[in-house]
Symmetry: none
Subunit: 305 residues, 2 copies
């Protein structure tokens, strides 16, 4: 169990796997690559682009990391074969960052080259705070040799205000999100409004700095601020995109696509759906209600029998 | 029943007319023009200016629209006769927009000319979203020939950020309000904070663009932002006014007047008070409490008898 999983386990009550599976089915394309491809095809038809995430358990050996690498190469091949509009999203722990930074760098370079030769973009997901520094350094170094790589900054991180300057200097693409891991207060802002204000501030800086930004949020208030900034700063269409998670607020997605904005949907698939789904459940208070109703429904169902 | 009325009916529970009448009496000057004139005289004595709205039901014929036109000409005559400080507010559906845009344009031009010759300003109220585009186009065209006409922008509308630019280019006066119709999410922001932020942003743009703005709100937070912008941008006195509805927060009204700001009160009168009043009831959650107490009061009163 990785540090990431521990951080999540600390903050989320344990929810039985069958319940998580049922509730989270809308957030996961499925167990198989074919299901992911089918989801991406639907999204493309709706005017969205995608990024595919292969859900993975903790990587405990060189072989695990090599297997993840091969999974992503299969994804890239399949995207090509089917002519789908999608990049990939990878996690450095999945490529062996806990085992050896050198191994991780080698694996990442292989996948970035493989994807680059086929015109695909590789977004390196941000994990919890022990990985922030290494992840940004690795992406910065890799970006010196490969254009098709970008990182993620999280608005809840106190350090992000500094990281924005490094990103602007290096000039690589950034996905900006609020952040979802359970971080200590010394590392991350805990106040909702502060995280929002920091998001707006960081986005403003990134756009002014000419960075290509993936504006990753489902918060209408932040999307409004993004639209305002795009308008005020006259940000050209090829310098930003909106990003949303599969299964979240499809109405808002269609509003943005309808208004002519590029929108990318994060499409996770694979058999290791439990951790990802638990993060989504934690993030969305409405979901907690579904869980409660589901549990209560089961209990009352049993009482009736 | 027009689209406007349907939109309202969809979102407001039906409240019995006698209750609406009693509660809404403070929001309506009365059934007759004389009562409206008396209200305007009182307001003028309190240091406020006014704008008179003739309440009207849906316009189903050319004769209905002509009748509305004559009503407004009588209002303008009476304002002149009594030397009162007030303009008029008109709705384009009342002037026949649903019947024919040409008819509506002709009626509006007649009323704008009539008012203009007597030094009166004509504010074209904004109705619900099916009318937004036509209303702005008609006001823009009319403003090329007549100075004494202006429109309304609503902060809840997603399109307003674009409309502000059109208004600045055309240079006509705008009343800025939050918006009160029940619009779909694809058209209007639903989040309270987002609507507020958009209001502040639009006001900032309008004032910087040199547009004469009617700052129409009872929201202290927005009024504070307006005062801040007026101060920071050094907006001259002849480039803005505050606007409030009759019967809403008279204390705030007197605070603004006491501080030396121009303040215009929207004064509706007429026999067709039900729709206007229902919008007011919907807008103000406190009013819902009055309705409840009123109903309960009646029931308990009957029980005592």
């Amino acid at each position: 169990m990785g540090i990431l999983d521990r951080a999540i386990a600390n903050s989320v009550p344990v929810i039985p796997r069958p319940i998580v599976k049922r509730i989270s089915s809308r957030y996961i394309a499925g167990d198989t690559l074919d299901e992911a491809l089918s989801t991406v095809r639907d999204l493309n038809e709706q005017g969205c682009v995608a990024t595919i995430d292969v859900l993975g358990e903790s990587t405990e050996s060189k072989a695990d990391a090599a297997s993840t690498l091969k999974d992503y190469e299969r994804v890239v091949d399949a995207l090509d074969e089917h002519g789908l509009k999608s990049g990939i999203s990878v996690k450095l722990t999945g490529l062996g960052l806990d085992l050896s930074e050198e191994l991780c760098r080698a694996n990442l370079e292989e996948i970035v080259e493989y994807a680059g030769e086929r015109g695909r973009f590789v977004r390196v997901d941000m994990e919890d705070s022990p990985y922030t520094e290494a992840t940004l350094n690795i992406v910065r170094d890799m970006h010196e040799r490969h254009e098709n790589i970008g990182a993620v900054l999280q608005a809840y991180m106190r350090r992000s205000i500094e990281d924005v300057q490094r990103v602007i200097e290096a000039g690589f693409s950034v996905r900006l999100c609020k952040g979802i891991y359970d971080e200590p207060r010394s590392i991350a802002y805990k106040d909702f409004d502060t995280v929002r204000q920091n998001y707006i501030f960081l986005l403003d800086e990134l756009l002014k700095g000419g960075v290509y930004v993936g504006i990753a949020t489902h918060d209408e208030f932040l999307i409004w601020h993004a639209l305002r900034l795009i308008h005020q700063l006259e940000v050209p269409e090829d310098r930003y995109e909106f990003q949303m998670l599969l299964g979240v607020d499809e109405e808002l997605r269609s509003i943005l696509v309808g208004a002519g904005h590029k929108l990318r949907v994060y499409v996770p698939f694979g058999e290791d759906w439990y951790e990802y789904s638990t993060r989504r459940l934690k993030e969305n208070p409405k979901i907690a209600g579904y869980v409660a109703r589901d549990v209560i429904g089961n209990i009352t169902g049993k009482l009736k029998r």
